[in-house]
């Protein structure tokens, strides 16, 4: 959505190719790049996943620890999703506080997991108002070539599914101590976000960085395995008609099932 002369030329070319029914890299409009998903390959985190989607490369780490609950939910554990745009991932990314894009990425993945109630937060409470489990999901972008939301969403699900967090027990005097055993996180559902990009009158899946840069907007729809929608987010400075929204929902529903099966296979 940048507007320098280069991206305007890029936009022209990309649109021409889309008009002809294909993509710059020869893919179909709704075709994903090859996604490879590796889980539990990091020893020092409780759960992990590495997702490669074309040249997009993200690492997702799950860490769990003890902390204090929020005031309004004293008996519930906490799930936090954070995204890092590392400067190594793209020439235009700089060190410093997270840019808007990183915050939006973390928030969409976070809301996708939490509004689907993927974890029973009450299971993660230990001592009311004092000690609960805090589960951090860090999305770490190592190379950016577009479609981070889908890559991170799939990776977060795979990492959580395989996570084993340290077990704690609570004594009668509310002392919390480690049991020395690990427990698996119980997932109640399997939300997967799918992002549809709009370029002119075209809708495409799995946009590359170039396509993302020239896109007018996008719509992310998160589906759980029962076919319910758990999060939506429209972004970019164009509107969508109701018919376009319906079309995107249908595209996402089909694709989400496919990506979900990939995250299962990664086990």
């Amino acid at each position: 959505m940048s507007n320098n002369i280069v991206s305007r030329l890029k936009r022209k070319k990309i649109e021409e190719v889309l008009d002809a029914g294909t993509r710059m890299d020869g893919r179909g409009l709704l075709q994903y790049r090859e996604m490879t998903l590796k889980t539990n390959y990091l020893e020092k985190s409780e759960g992990s996943a590495e997702v490669k989607l074309g040249k997009t490369h993200v690492v997702i780490g799950v860490k769990a620890g003890l902390g204090t609950p929020f005031d309004d939910t004293p008996d519930e554990g906490v799930l936090m999703v954070n995204a890092e745009y590392t400067p190594v991932a793209h020439s235009t990314w700089e060190p410093g506080p997270p840019p808007e894009g990183a915050i939006e990425l973390a928030r969409i993945v976070d809301r996708g997991l939490r509004s689907a109630e993927i974890l029973n937060m009450e299971d993660l409470g230990l001592v009311s108002g004092e000690k609960v489990y805090i589960v951090f999901v860090d999305l770490y972008v190592l190379n950016w070539d577009g479609n981070l939301i889908d890559a991170c969403g799939a990776g977060a699900l795979a990492a959580l599914r395989n996570a084993e967090i340290p077990g704690y027990k609570v004594s009668k005097t509310n002392e919390v101590s480690e049991t020395g055993k690990t427990i698996k996180l119980k997932l109640r559902c399997e939300p997967v976000p799918i992002t549809i990009y709009k370029i002119g009158s075209h809708f495409i899946l799995d946009a590359t960085a170039d396509e993302e840069e020239v896109a007018d907007g996008r719509l992310t729809v998160t589906f759980d395995e029962k076919g319910n929608i758990t999060t939506m987010q429209k972004s970019g400075s164009v509107g969508f008609t109701l018919d376009e929204i319906k079309k995107c929902i249908n595209i996402a529903k089909e694709k989400a099932a496919e990506i979900r099966s990939l995250t299962v296979a990664s086990k």
Binding site: S2, N3, N4, D71, E100, I103, E104, A106, R107, R111, R114, S115, A116, E117, M121, G217, L219, D224, G227, N228, I229, T230, T231, M232, Q233, K234, S235, G236, S237, V238, G239, F240, T241, L242, I245, K246, I249, K253
Partner: protein
């Protein structure tokens, strides 16, 4: 978080906390020109939401590197007063605030001619004085009116409201309690003349059919809010149906926004809550 109820209660027995019908909006009042220093401003009360929006610009962009050589930038800062919610919140911007500023900008930009303002910025500052659920939608309603008040040409007004699911029923314009306890929340912004949705988010659990029903209901709500926004602007600028076309064109070419006709009422900052 409450467990979603799968059972759908019959609409007859379902009663909303504030007695509204399922497709009824909360009372809305909008006032323009509430910040004399701003180029345009608006104050909205939507239920117990009390929100001020001010517009500065188009003006030079600072920092310069954020400007675009061939078009203007619409920058929206959404900020909640520490006393706007219970318990008090830190005045530092949260991740949620940053995201809402961004989605608001995306919701309003389609209505503007940003290509007319290269290297410039239009700043929209939104201050939540009191929050009562649906602040992002109420903020968009106020910001759209404030942009008109600033004399900025627009393709259409942008109206916003949410629909959601409460105890198995799809309902319009969730209040604070419904927002927190409901099963889903679908904020929508809409340009009624262009028939385009410019903000669409969703949190919760809904089937595809329910999602579509909620979006449609929210669009109907937006159309009603659109009328309120128009009435507010007509009242301020004294336009009647007959002369509105000529007048509107005049304001479009006018560089300076009209001076507020009367001194704005003190905004309800000394809030009774």
């Amino acid at each position: 978080m409450s467990k979603p109820k799968t059972k759908r209660k019959s609409k007859k027995t379902f009663e909303r906390l504030d007695g509204r019908k399922v497709d009824e909006l909360r009372p809305i009042t909008i006032e323009t020109g509430v910040i004399p220093n701003a180029d345009g401003s608006a104050y909205i009360e939507m239920g117990r939401n009390k929100i001020v929006a001010g517009v500065y610009g188009p003006r030079e962009m600072h920092p310069k590197r954020l400007s675009k050589p061939n078009m203007g930038v619409l920058r929206v800062r959404y900020h909640m007063a520490p006393f706007s919610v219970d318990p008090r919140r830190s005045p530092a911007p949260s991740r949620r605030d940053t995201e809402i500023g961004m989605v608001m900008s995306n919701a309003l930009a389609p209505a503007l001619f940003l290509e007319r303002y290269p290297r410039s910025v239009i700043d929209v500052f939104v201050e939540i004085i009191q929050a009562d659920g649906g602040t992002r939608c109420a903020s968009i309603n106020a910001a759209a009116v404030a942009l008109v008040d600033a004399g900025i040409p627009m393709k259409d007004l942008v109206a916003a409201c949410a629909a959601g699911k409460m105890e198995g029923n799809i309902v319009l314009d969730l209040g604070d309690y419904e927002d927190k306890k409901g099963e889903a929340d679908v904020p929508v912004a809409y340009m009624p003349k262009l028939e385009e949705v410019t903000l669409l988010q969703m949190d919760g659990i809904l089937s595809v059919e329910e999602t579509e029903e909620a979006i449609k209901m929210a669009i109907e709500g937006c159309k009603k809010i659109y009328e309120i926004q128009r009435e507010t602007l007509k009242k301020k600028y004294g336009m009647t149906e007959g002369e509105s076309v000529a007048e509107a064109e005049e304001t479009e070419t006018d560089e300076e926004p009209e001076e507020p006709v009367e001194k704005p009422e003190e905004e309800a900052e000394a809030d009774e809550e």
